[in-house]
């Protein structure tokens, strides 16, 4: 590129990058504006408009959001803990044991990467009915308690642990679970953290399967609760709806803002390794 044109080109690039950045922020900023001002100012930009938290208060009163929050927290905790524990056990077997059929089992497990539980919703619904798990928290979490992606990631990690460390631990008298706990789990800590963060945000946001399997306030997660709230309960009071929307996303959004670097790195490492 011509030397004299270079600064101009980079200035244009900066402008374009920021135009895109603003386009990416605009919907969110617009929602925040609407949520923190009285309904009269919902769609009128007036810098003198009074700030208020009343919309959040009204949304909180209008639907059982406390219950939805509790449900979502329980669901996310069950899924993330279970995926990490069961994934660690399975990945250890696949990474460090030699037995007939190992590669076949691994290949069959990887099928789940493509065939997500949502796609098999019709058959899974019948299973839940047979188990008596329709409209329960268990009905929501059961299909997600273990994950091919998690097993894949952890298996990769375990394979990088030097075999000598395991042998040393064995000589010291560790059993299989002792070796796993003392040698492999510490080595996988960053992966556990990254994977946990990604899965927590994924399941906080999950909608379709919980919508299908629940039909009562007691078991609904936030996403399903929000969709019911926004479509049935509120008509078109945008101030309250945007307040509820931001409220349901707030924990993740705050966590993201506080741990931004960690979050981004987690997504990177959980996806690429």
């Amino acid at each position: 590129m011509n030397r004299r044109l270079a600064p101009l080109a980079s200035a244009i690039e900066t402008v374009l990058a920021w135009v895109l950045g603003l386009a990416w922020l605009a919907p969110l900023l617009y929602a925040v504006w609407t949520a923190v001002h009285p309904p009269a100012f919902a769609t009128r930009f007036d810098l003198g408009a009074p700030l208020t938290l009343d919309n959040f208060h009204r949304a909180w009163e209008a639907a059982p959001f406390a219950r939805y929050f509790l449900n979502t927290v329980v669901i996310v905790a069950l899924i993330v803990v279970s995926q990490i524990v069961l994934g660690t056990l399975a990945a250890f077997a696949l990474a460090r044991f030699t037995f007939r059929g190992r590669d076949l089992v691994f290949a069959v497990i990887l099928l789940q990467l493509m065939i997500a539980p949502e796609i098999l919703a019709v058959a899974n619904y019948r299973t839940m009915k047979a188990l008596g798990a329709v409209d329960t928290i268990w009905g929501i979490v059961l299909p997600y308690l273990t994950s091919a992606f998690g097993i894949f990631l952890l298996r990769q990690t375990f394979r990088t642990v030097p075999q000598d460390l395991e042998d040393a631990a064995r000589i010291e008298g560790c059993g299989t679970l002792g070796v796993l706990w003392r040698v492999y789990v510490p080595a996988a800590r960053p992966v556990h953290l990254a994977y946990g963060l990604v899965q927590a945000s994924w399941h906080w946001n999950n909608f379709l399967w919980p919508l299908i399997i629940t039909n009562s306030v007691e078991n609904r997660p936030l996403t399903v609760g929000l969709s019911v709230f926004a479509s049935v309960d509120q008509g078109i009071d945008w101030s309250v709806i945007t307040a509820a929307t931001l409220m349901t996303s707030a924990p993740l959004l705050l966590a993201f803002l506080v741990f931004q670097r960690r979050f981004v790195q987690s997504f990177m490492s959980a996806g690429l390794r």
Binding site: W24, F97, I119, I241
Partner: protein
């Protein structure tokens, strides 16, 4: 009992600890795998097989049990115009959103990886939609698109243009929900490109600069080939997402107007859980699985040659 030495263990090829019996190792391995294998079998593999069977059986109704009906579900599906509409919509949706969101993701990553003013803030702006639930995103955009009051129409009003109803008009509704998908996804894909860009050694750029390569030349000859594995990974994800994310359809259009935004998975939901037609829904599930596996296979065959793994 005699302790086994390593040489006593045939075929393992690796040391497995000095005091272990191979058969015990096998039992241990299966015990470790057991919980995951049981869950996978119950909620992925058995339902997977069962769906193929159900597609040839009628839906049980009341006291009438399910019967073998051959290809009836399939002929019903083929004669259902909404199925075709959803299939065409979904193809359009995939072809429209995937190149745009992956292209934008690459552009974002190149910008944020370079020396641009306000880099941290910009990266946050691009990535934020990824953290939000799709349901919340759909809500925000629904408001954004509202005729008269939404930001779009407010901006149009400044220029004296008339109000629009993007989501209510069959000709623009699908595009409107596609925009939302791109907005939500591009920042997610950016992260993977960013990770790959940061692993390209700086020496390469210095060497190229000495040889007088232009920035675009460097990108085309060095950066882009090195990014091929990530591009493949991102494309696989983007394709899966295009067929499996329908949350915003529920919130914004309910598949309408006149099925203009009906997608395959949304149609599957309608057949399976609104009309409770298990037979046809199973047939549609088989179609969806076939589409997904076909596309995944195609991508690996096509891209396999061009990919240079590190």
């Amino acid at each position: 009992m005699r302790a086994l030495s390593r040489s006593d263990m045939p075929g393992t090829g690796r040391s497995v600890g000095p005091f272990r019996f191979p058969r015990l190792r096998t039992v241990e391995a299966w015990l470790l795998l057991l919980p995951s294998v049981v869950l996978f079998a119950t909620f992925t593999h058995v339902p997977f097989v069962r769906t193929f069977i159900d597609a040839f059986w009628s839906t049980p109704k009341g006291r009438r049990p399910s019967q073998f009906v051959g290809f009836d579900n399939w002929t019903d599906l083929v004669h259902d115009p909404i199925f075709w509409k959803a299939l065409v919509n979904n193809a359009f949706y995939a072809l429209g959103t995937i190149p745009v969101s992956v292209g934008l993701a690459l552009l974002m990553a190149l910008w944020v990886n370079g020396r641009i003013p306000g880099r941290g803030l910009l990266r946050m702006a691009y990535f934020t939609p990824t953290v939000l639930p799709m349901i919340a995103v759909a809500d925000i955009w629904l408001f954004f698109y509202t005729p008269d009051y939404g930001l779009f129409d407010q901006i149009r009003e400044l220029f004296g243009l008339a109000a629009t109803n993007r989501l209510g008009d069959p000709s623009s509704a699908l595009i409107a929900v596609m925009v939302v998908a791109v907005w939500k996804e591009a920042g997610f894909f950016m992260i993977f490109y960013l990770a790959a860009l940061q692993q390209i050694p700086p020496d390469l750029r210095d060497a190229a600069a000495i040889e007088g390569a232009s920035r675009f030349g460097f990108f085309r000859r060095v950066t882009w080939p090195l990014l091929m594995p990530v591009t493949l990974f991102v494309l696989v994800n983007a394709v899966i997402n295009a067929f499996r994310t329908v949350d915003h359809i529920f919130m914004m259009t309910g598949g309408g107007p006149d099925n203009a935004t009906n997608l395959l998975l949304f149609r599957l939901y309608e057949l399976g859980f609104k009309f409770w037609d298990q037979g046809q829904a199973s047939a549609l599930t088989v179609v969806l699985i076939a589409v997904l596996s076909g596309l995944a296979l195609l991508q690996f065959l096509l891209a396999g040659r061009g990919v240079h793994y590190r």
